[in-house]
Subunit: 235 residues, 2 copies
């Protein structure tokens, strides 16, 4: 018996905002759309949620297919459900953002689509409401990264303090007091100093660090015991 | 032309976690479900997204109908889309949380449903995945309230410092150092001290405060310029 027989149905899609950090700019991965309508235009990668899939599973499928990467950091961003967001059919899209290490990203080559990294602040025009999806995902990333050290997902295995600072600067569009930032960072217990130095940036060089994965997991998982920080957004 | 004709469709619902603060416990408003299946069981208030509605508009409609309140604080929480979350038909639910001042809440009486406030930690068994929806909404509320002073939405026009502290304690399941908390709070610029005292709690009484709505709006709206606070979740 169908109790809900008078309710309207919709198509459900997922769209993914894939962030990467190339050492200098925060980028997102865009695709030339392979299906009608709006075929061949730049868009976020996405797909329809299939009958046996939850939306999270659909997002993971899309990400795996397009980046070659499984087991990456993914968070729900927001739902886009304006009845007129696509003109010919009602499609409600659930958006996700993913953080990947661009060094691990495998460029999956097929005849179906073309993929390219673009700086977040310099993307081509996108279809439908995809530009708004990126704007919202950036806001979610900023909020989440203010409470949890998730930006490390964007860094390679070994990284330097200036690299982390640049990543935070690009994410928040700010200029950091590097000394103060480094002090907080080293005090966080998240980093393990390596013996090796990166000499590409300066003559003196910058020590490489790696993430203490145990501490990181605790910080990522620990829901709470955090206190509201009254001044955090007035700095 | 229907480009998406082979894609499966779903029913889309909204469910709302309505938080209120009675001065002592953080509560949520539950309803006895008025429709089949699972009629008469306790559940979150919800409804189906109609053809001409976005999900946000559907949530506002449900909230207005059930609380009598328009223009309340609402945030998207998460999507619940497991293919088997309802047994007889696929329904994907978008959940929202709302913060209301219980003093403004109007108990809307109809023959259709019964509504009651329950302490967050002492709810009756709920239908489907509604208990998980509450758990997730509580987490979202905690994250958001750590960055923005949104918990004030739960307080009446006039409130005391001990009231605010209790509200934060109940939200985060912590015991605050009241002195330190009051100092941070008074330093936030959010509060205007009134001349009147609340004498119900102690002989000395506690001054009433009201929110500086201008500062509040700035803090609520100001997306960013906040810096990651490394130690925030290790306290």
């Amino acid at each position: 018996m169908d109790f809900y027989k008078n309710e309207p149905s919709v198509l459900l899609a997922v769209d993914c905002v894939i962030f990467g950090f190339n050492g200098d700019s925060l980028d997102i991965l865009l695709f030339k759309r392979a299906i009608e309508p709006e075929i061949n235009k730049w868009s976020l990668p996405g797909g329809f949620v299939q009958a046996e899939e939850s939306p999270e599973v659909a997002a993971a499928r899309v990400l795996k297919k397009l980046t070659g990467l499984g087991n990456i950091y993914v968070e729900e961003s927001a739902v886009f459900g304006d009845p007129k967001r696509e003109s010919h059919r009602r499609v409600v899209s659930i958006t996700y953002y993913a953080l990947i290490d661009v060094h691990k990203y495998q460029h999956v080559i097929t005849d179906d689509y073309e993929a390219r990294w673009f700086p977040l602040n310099d993307c081509p025009p996108l279809i439908f409401d995809h530009e708004e999806m990126i704007r919202v995902a950036k806001g979610r990333l900023r909020s989440k990264a203010a409470l949890y050290p998730i930006l490390f997902e964007l860094l390679p295995e070994k990284f330097t303090l200036p690299q982390i600072a640049t990543l935070y600067e690009k994410t928040y569009d700010i200029v950091l007091d590097r000394r103060n930032f480094n002090r907080k960072l080293l005090g966080s217990g998240l980093l393990i100093k390596l013996k090796e130095k990166d000499k590409t940036g300066s003559r003196r060089g910058a020590y490489y660090f790696k993430l203490d994965k145990k501490v990181y997991k605790e910080k990522i998982m620990s829901f709470l015991r955090y206190l509201p920080s009254w001044n955090i957004d007035s700095e």
